[in-house]
Symmetry: C2
Subunit: 384 residues, 2 copies
Amino acid sequence: MYNFEYKNPVKIIFGKETISKVAAEVPKNAKILLTYGGGSIMKNGVYEQVMNALKEVELSEFGGIEANPHYETCMKAVKIVKNEKVDFLLSVGGGSVLDATKFIAAAALYENGDPWDILVKRGKVEDAIPIGAVLTLPATGSEMNGNSVITRVSTLEKMAFSSPKVMPQFSILDPQCVFTLPDKQVANGIVDAFVHVMEQYLTFDVNSPLQDRFAESILTTLIEEGPKVLADRKDYDAAANFMWAATMALNGLIGAGVAQDWATHSIGHELTAFHGIDHARTLAIVLPGVMNIKRESKKEKILQYGKRIWGITEGTDNEKIDAAIAKTVEFFESTGLPTTLPAYNVPEESVTKIVARFEKRFYKLGEKADIDHREIEQILRDRL
Amino acid sequence: MYNFEYKNPVKIIFGKETISKVAAEVPKNAKILLTYGGGSIMKNGVYEQVMNALKEVELSEFGGIEANPHYETCMKAVKIVKNEKVDFLLSVGGGSVLDATKFIAAAALYENGDPWDILVKRGKVEDAIPIGAVLTLPATGSEMNGNSVITRVSTLEKMAFSSPKVMPQFSILDPQCVFTLPDKQVANGIVDAFVHVMEQYLTFDVNSPLQDRFAESILTTLIEEGPKVLADRKDYDAAANFMWAATMALNGLIGAGVAQDWATHSIGHELTAFHGIDHARTLAIVLPGVMNIKRESKKEKILQYGKRIWGITEGTDNEKIDAAIAKTVEFFESTGLPTTLPAYNVPEESVTKIVARFEKRFYKLGEKADIDHREIEQILRDRL
């Protein structure tokens, strides 16, 4: 096991009818900005529940945050935060709203230049406006970490940052929010959480059986509970198990002390940046390619994954790896997510464009930092 | 799944040669009281490492904290804390030292009467001196929770309290501390962590597969890595895996949203109070009795445990439960811990004494609060 530090102070409030608890969690006498997305919280009653709970509180609103939230949108909110001297941000929505809120929180107090530097130059987040979250969609794990991914529309760049300063003070997770989600968002959430686990699990072995078993626990739960949620949106227990699994998939726990990959995410971000494909769908496309091309360096873990998750024990190592990839593809497709580039009308030329972008960057991807632009090309061509 | 709240802000610093990091973690200009036990930290070099790291810091010492730490000892430290205006407590040792330090931290600022009330009358801990920990022994999980168990010698009472106020600010876990532990302490640690998991896992089913899989992950890790540690004390990876498993066994994670039992602990505490038997050993005695006597109400989970942990699939339900109990006993005994009362020279009269004590208390034990003094008698007689 590697040496590691782990600290996750996010207070989770989980369960049925918990949204009203927001009133006790927001700071007293704070000027609060409520951030949200395209308005689904109006239709599913979450907005009303939050507003009822916060009747007595001074509140401004900033709606219209899009999926793959835009830097440009965030900067509008930053202006409001500064002008209105907002001292608490309450994110009501899914991972995109929360990611945007985290960037707004950091950008509003960033004093070392252009806030864009936080994303492209790893500008250090010294301070941030405190955040709380009411989560409406299990997927990204943003409710229990300090990560955020932001897209700059003008340059088609999708970039991430991470800071303990933007971890939510609290996150309220009411699984009943799942009841009104469309199939597509549930499927995206299942695959997003699944691939978060895979990025921290399917690496080289550092002798960390507990982290491995935890990762497999989350994968198994997603495989068993995800389809139940898709089949019956009102199955509370399935929704709750799915929601908690998605949170656990990216709260630092299973990644503590082990190697981490994140190549699938980095390559996927480019597919979103160039083609606007949903984040989770880009992961469903790319992961099988990474597994196929990196089958040698990830061999032990892919074999372990195949055996423990899918019961694959027959054949040569290469046959077992093929079967593990096939099972993964089959699971993603069973949720309704296609896993090839043509299924999303991505032309071959896009591969060239994306590869050229990686060629210009100085870093390589993967847990061994050995995936260069040539291997990225192989991975993408594998999915044509 | 039950509704739950979960917050665990303890900073874990884990790995090889991490003890020197204590210097960066203790507050600047604080008056620190270093608490420790019987002196093993002098022999294994941990004391020296801590003192070297804290050369520049104003430090007092309070040694001699015993296993199953005494209320009477703690109150001596409370006097020092008050007289010397200590504002940070640094626990260097195992779970007993840390439990004592937590009680000292709470008692020093307790203003609602006799600090003993914290333990016997659930006196609320409004504030506590901040704590840091250097952990030398994987076992109790005290390094990542707000729990503490204290014994009052004068009345032979062993009582617990829990408060977020006494969670350590940081805990440093260097698995190399395991290298110098005697067999007995390793075995105690394995069984202690194992039973912590069982108390949160072997209850009635609330449909929480992820918590179940996490619990099984820890049990499996203890079963696989524990014997490696016993066989080769210098196996760093085994020590690290064991240490991290013990922390995860009682940091709130696997208990979030599920039923919890703790009958084994409550009954075990009386065996320690009356006979001074090591805490873990009392658990090794009592758990098989609880499993046997509560085989009906815990049936589904015992069967699941037997199947998933020990591969028990043959026979009637009762035969499978018998086999699961036998496997558990066998595992405990394989670490060197006897599991019956006579093996510790506990006479039959003690059963009567302990049962009489429970009869006087107004509460029942177990996740269903249905274990009364008559069932406690059955459980203890099962172990004669």
